[in-house]
Symmetry: C2
Subunit: 161 residues, 2 copies
């Protein structure tokens, strides 16, 4: 039921990405085009990987992830960018099976960690994650530079400063 | 002064990783061996990249990073794993120059974001990041599965459940 995504899953994955963003109350944040996802997952130098939960040719859930690296452990890990299960397929252990698949990949590869982020208000997801033994990294805050601030800093010739 | 790290920098980078962990009050968390860092940065399939600030053959600061991917933007980005400047070299704009170098890489590659994490108590770093136009992602919390919990989930044959 859980398998690596293939190129035929791209349209279904795009729909699930939109569904997840709607659930996360940010539907307007999704700008990804199918061709971008296809290149990211199946291009020459994949930027990400995806697994799907499928039943009878229908994609019920997905995990999109990429490899990260820890300078503390000295090992790679997995960062789970998106985990989503269609509402009508919940309660069947699909989310757990998707995370377990990534944990198995990490385990086989000798990776030390599986990391992800959750919206603070999403208490049901948090309860589920804690039931798996995951721990909150709440002494840390993420910071992001994007848009004009990123462009401004990135086009400065700092070597001249 | 800012340049990509080369293999001759590995020992200096390891020292800076230890110094940063000490500053972050977790000196015992660092288990990385030089050979692991060498493989991660300069092996067949690099898991990470590093830039250094060097002066007269001495490494004064470092940025260790890897490529991530956003399903919202459809684009890759940069995740800055470690940023560190030696205490005696602070106040000279080296941290800013290292971040600006990554912003320039992101800008040239068409990446949409530069992300990192900061310890909540590190107010001076937070003030510096905000001066660059970075914004806190404080509606999100990181979660981590590691150690025995990761091994237990990863060695379960969830397909049988």
């Amino acid at each position: 039921m859980i398998r690596p995504a293939d190129e035929g899953d791209v349209e279904a994955l795009i729909r699930l990405i939109h569904d997840l963003a709607e659930f996360e109350r940010s539907p307007a944040s999704v700008m990804i085009e199918p061709e971008q996802l296809r290149t990211a997952l199946f291009g020459e130098s994949p930027a990400a990987h995806a697994h799907v939960a499928a039943e009878g040719g229908r994609v019920l859930g997905m995990a999109i992830w990429f490899r990260n690296f820890s300078t503390w452990t000295g090992r790679s890990g997995i960062y789970l960018e998106d985990l989503y299960v269609r509402p009508e397929a919940r309660g069947r252990g699909i989310g757990r099976a998707l995370i377990a698949e990534l944990a198995a990949i990490a385990h086989r590869a000798g990776y030390g960690r599986l990391d992800w982020s959750v919206l603070r208000w999403n208490k049901s997801a948090i309860g589920f994650y804690e039931s798996l033994g995951a721990v909150p990294m709440d002494e840390w805050t993420g910071y992001r530079l994007s848009g004009e601030a990123l462009a401004a800093l990135g086009s400065t010739d700092h070597r001249e400063e």
